[in-house]
């Protein structure tokens, strides 16, 4: 039997499934660090998220009459689940994850046609919806980082106790949720600056927000994600454009504005190594489906996210802004793609402008 197929006939090793798997694998250092810093809740979140993600994916694929096995095997849902699992508050109740994954997989992904067609980053849609709908749960269930737990005589939960709390909202006797949790560094700084209750130096002195580089606890998580991300870049799984331009813009803006009012503006390092900056820069913003695809477009896309992160963190209504910044730039991606087309071989540089003018 001869096969009629168009050239080329050589096939490389890489596949979507493999790409997704490797990216997920490279999140492991960050995930492990997060578990160390924030306790077993992170692990429970991730496992719950994976279960929910695959279930929702399978159900919607079934309803849409699409081959279930093929699309479950592409592992894109897995990656989304892990990102949501890490991004949610470590002690988030199970239904938060459930609602989040529903919006991520069913609304933001499958209703748009599934893998490759979604306009918005599913994980970030979930996060933003949860943040708007359940602001209390999303900000209070942050377990005190391991570095601070001893200092504040905070209590920690064992794995079983964590599961018990997240699934059934039962704490071991004598423990209160307030004792277990504390505000995130970004939150502390923002509240202080907004209320004018403390200057940066005073927060420093208090020692519950600033670590060596960025936010206490989160700086290690950020470093781990940075390592994973750099490895991805080295392997050619992601191009440098988005993460570098994102981090550069964020750093530059915090440096620029930080040098005016030192009292109310934390250092660039704090911005880069707090919250979900590195996770966002390397694993969320680089989601190829929702990002811009042209070289110039990717630079603008990354820079836009970086700028929005700084703007919303500093002047906006939310302590961390990865989700909104990514969603806002997701919206711009098609337009960016359209207006940043590279010059095609043999065309003049200003040809496109001519076409538009005529």
């Amino acid at each position: 039997m001869f096969l009629a197929q168009s050239s080329p006939f050589l096939k490389p090793e890489l596949s979507v499934s493999k790409m997704m798997l490797v990216v997920t694998m490279l999140m492991i250092p960050g995930v492990l660090t997060a578990i160390y810093v924030f306790g077993y809740g992170v692990l429970v979140n991730i496992i719950l998220a994976i279960i929910f993600a695959l279930t929702f994916e399978a159900i919607t694929l079934y309803l849409r009459r699409r081959p279930i096995a093929v699309y479950l095997k592409d592992k894109s849902a897995l990656l989304t689940a892990v990102i949501i699992g890490v991004a949610l508050p470590p002690l988030a109740p199970w239904w938060l994850t459930f609602v989040g994954l529903f919006f991520a997989i069913v609304i933001a992904k499958q209703l748009y046609g599934g893998l490759g067609y979604n306009t918005f980053n599913p994980a970030m849609v979930a996060y933003a919806i949860l943040l708007i709908s359940f602001p209390a749960e999303m900000t209070t269930y942050w377990q005190t980082p391991a570095m601070l737990a001893s200092q504040f005589e905070g209590q920690t939960l064992s794995l079983l106790e964590t599961i018990n709390f997240q699934l059934f909202a039962q704490l071991p006797a004598g423990m209160t949720i307030d004792a277990l949790t504390s505000a995130t560094p970004l939150d502390i700084v923002r509240t202080a600056v907004l209320n004018g209750s403390a200057t940066i130096d005073e927060i420093h002195a208090e020692g519950n927000a600033f670590g060596m580089l960025g936010g206490i606890g989160t700086e290690w998580v950020n470093l781990a994600f940075l390592a994973g991300g750099l490895f991805m870049m080295r392997k050619g799984l992601i191009s440098w454009h988005i993460p570098i331009s994102l981090l550069a813009t964020l750093g530059f803006l915090s440096l620029l504005f930080g040098s005016f009012e030192l009292d109310s503006n934390p250092s660039p390092l704090f911005h880069l190594f707090s919250g979900a900056t590195m996770l966002g820069a390397f694993f969320i913003a680089t989601d190829p489906v929702t990002a811009s695809t042209t070289p110039r477009g990717r630079v603008i896309y990354g820079a836009g996210i970086g700028a929005l992160i700084y703007i919303i963190r500093t002047w906006g209504g939310y302590p961390d802004a990865i989700a909104f910044a990514v969603l806002l730039m997701n919206m711009c991606a098609p337009l960016l793609d359209y207006y940043t087309q590279p010059r095609v071989y043999g065309h003049k540089a200003d040809e496109r402008d001519d076409e538009e003018a005529s």
């Binding site: 050239s7 080329p8 095609v344 043999g346």
Partner: protein, 597 residues
């Protein structure tokens, strides 16, 4: 002959000093070239029956001038060139024409085309060849100088005529009649001749072995090409994975360059990066200049030919032999003895595969051309044509059928690897939606179909096939539109004709009636006169003739108006549409001469 420095040394210095440019994208591929490039060029056995397609080139198919039953000699013309862009076809063996009918040809469509069938007699009897330069193989001390002098005595037109008569076409894959290309180049005063010896596709080694084993033919062919267009500069671009071929050419060139400074040929090694052998890419790497979109290399004073074409030119001029055979690489892991074979055109592919040893248990795919740009053969009973540079017979593990295409995840690997800086992801998106206008906005006609995008796609999307699909759909739409234009004209014409006929009929009827009326009136008048009444009858007659004139004028006016109101499709076009049409026309004019890979 003073020789201060050995030529090879000056050459090496020049090479290292020469600035090379690069093209965007491109991919690194493993060459698999050592499979077939160590063996000497073998000769194919003459087949029992030769099947020679009449269209082995871009442009009009040649018109057969032999009849069934004719005896033909080797090298005899079978079909003559039927237009400005066409090439003659010759018999590649002596024998009898047994049929001129449709037969499966090597084409991705699996369609048939008109072929001449020759039952060979085995005598291999040549017709009389008339070379322009006699190729005396006597070991003259200063043979190069002699050769060169004799090239100088020939006129450019003379050489080109010989090339045209020999049916030489671009053997790199474009199949554009060489004589027509040289003609245009000469008219446009191209000053740089670039010889494409890159051969960047994996597996193919036919140019490589040609250069290694017959460098003399290549160089003399190049000198001839240079003479025809009067080029000042000549660059040979060769990928740096062919050191032996490079050395062979270098050794040959140094002789010519030393004896005649005006014969200057520069040979340049370019980095091995697919598709460095694409015409546009090679020009970019060597000169840093870009061929304008929808344009030709000649627009920037460059003409590009393949090494095999140069060798064919040599054969035509020095031996008077038409293009009736070519070197074919037979390779792949399902071939027992991979090799390069000089094959008479028209030989069934089955024959040469058997000669090279086909491992039938292993065969998975049979591809003509390379794995990046070739196509799978519809049948191995198709003949070898001027386009057949390589037959790649793979086993299953070698070139697997791709898994089903997943949706595009917009990872942009395709656009990062595109040597033309296109955005395959966007073109795919719109080709899939059949939004042909948008696809053209994204410059689909700049795509050279090199296959880099499909190769790197993690979703296994057959991008190149989508682009080919979109291109052929666009051409089809154009044909439909042209046809609609013709149909409209004819319909309008018919309506006018019918209208005229009707008017003529009505006119005739009216005239008849008038006559009758006049007659009646006359009769009546006569009767009245008879009755003795004196009354003038001029007025009615006068008025009726005035009416006639009025009517005639009105008719003429109406006709004029009708003619003016005749509309064509092209009358009410927006600027953008007009622009597109111009583009299309431009493209059509130049399409034929596309890239040589």
């Amino acid at each position: 002959m003073s020789q201060p420095l050995p030529a090879s040394i000056t050459r090496t210095i020049k090479d290292t000093l020469r600035h090379l440019w690069s093209f965007p994208g491109g991919i690194k591929l493993s060459g698999h070239k050592s499979l077939s490039n160590h063996q000497p060029i073998s000769t194919a056995k003459i087949a029992k029956q030769l099947i020679i397609p009449l269209s082995q080139h871009i442009g009009h198919a040649s018109e057969p001038i032999v009849k069934v039953g004719d005896k033909v000699l080797k090298g005899q013309i079978l079909g003559y060139a039927s237009g400005p862009v066409s090439a003659p076809v010759h018999a590649s063996g002596s024998g009898t024409v047994v049929a001129i009918e449709e037969h499966l040809i090597p084409h991705p469509s699996g369609l048939s085309a008109l072929c001449v069938f020759i039952d060979t007699d085995g005598y291999e009897q040549w017709i009389e060849c008339s070379p322009l330069i006699s190729d005396s193989s006597s070991t003259d001390d200063n043979q190069e100088a002699v050769t060169h002098r004799s090239i100088a005595t020939l006129s450019s037109h003379q050489i080109n005529q010989q090339i045209a008569n020999a049916g030489v076409v671009g053997l790199g894959g474009a199949l554009y009649p060489s004589a027509a290309k040289l003609n245009t180049a000469e008219k446009m005063h191209a000053d740089t001749l670039i010889i494409n010896a890159a051969e960047c596709e994996p597996y193919i080694t036919c140019d490589d072995v040609l250069m290694r084993q017959r460098p003399e033919e290549v160089i003399l062919g190049i000198l001839l090409l240079k003479k025809v267009i009067g080029a000042k500069k000549c660059l040979i671009g060769i990928e740096n994975n062919k050191p032996e071929a490079y050395q062979a050419l270098l050794n040959t060139i140094s002789g010519y360059n030393n004896s005649h400074t005006d014969a200057q040929i520069e040979i340049v090694q370019v980095p091995t990066l697919y598709p460095a052998g694409g015409e546009k890419q090679l020009i970019q790497v060597l000169t840093g200049r870009e061929v304008p979109s929808q344009g030709l290399p000649m627009d920037i004073g460059i003409i590009c030919h393949n090494v095999a074409t140069a060798a064919a030119v040599y054969h035509a001029v020095y031996r008077g032999e038409p293009l009736i055979s070519r070197i074919v690489t037979i390779t792949g892991s399902a071939i027992k003895q991979p090799q390069n074979m000089e094959v008479p055109l028209g030989t069934p592919i089955r024959d040469i595969l058997n000669q090279a040893g086909l491992d039938e248990n292993k065969v998975e795919k049979i591809i003509m051309g390379g794995p990046m740009m070739g196509f799978s053969l519809p049948s191995i009973d198709t003949p070898v044509t001027k386009a057949t540079n390589c037959i790649l017979v793979s086993e299953k593990s070698e070139l697997a059928t791709p898994p089903p295409a997943m949706p595009c995840i917009r990872c942009a690997r395709c656009s990062d690897s595109c040597p033309m800086s296109l955005l395959p992801q966007q073109m795919y998106w719109y080709a899939k939606a059949r939004d042909l206008e948008k696809v053209q906005d994204y410059n689909i006609f700049d795509c050279i179909e090199c296959g880099c995008c499909s190769y790197v796609c993690p979703s296994n999307i057959p991008l190149v096939q989508y682009f080919r699909y979109a291109k052929t759909e666009i051409w089809d739409d154009e044909r439909e539109r042209n046809k609609a234009n013709i149909a409209r004209d004819r319909h309008e014409f018919r309506k006018e004709r019918l209208e005229k006929a009707k008017q003529a009929k009505a006119e005739a009827a009216r005239l008849r009636k008038e006559k009758l009326a006049k007659k009646k009136a006359l009769d009546a008048e006569q009767a009245k006169e008879k009755e003795g009444l004196s009354q003038s009858n001029d007025n009615p007659a006068k008025s009726s003739s005035a009416d006639l004139i009025q009517e005639a004028i009105a008719r003429a006016k109406a006709k004029k108006a009708q003619q003016q109101s005749q509309k064509k499709n092209t009358d009410n076009l927006s600027e953008a549409q007009q622009k597109k049409i111009d583009e299309v026309n431009e493209r059509r004019r130049k399409k034929a001469d596309s890239e040589e890979i």
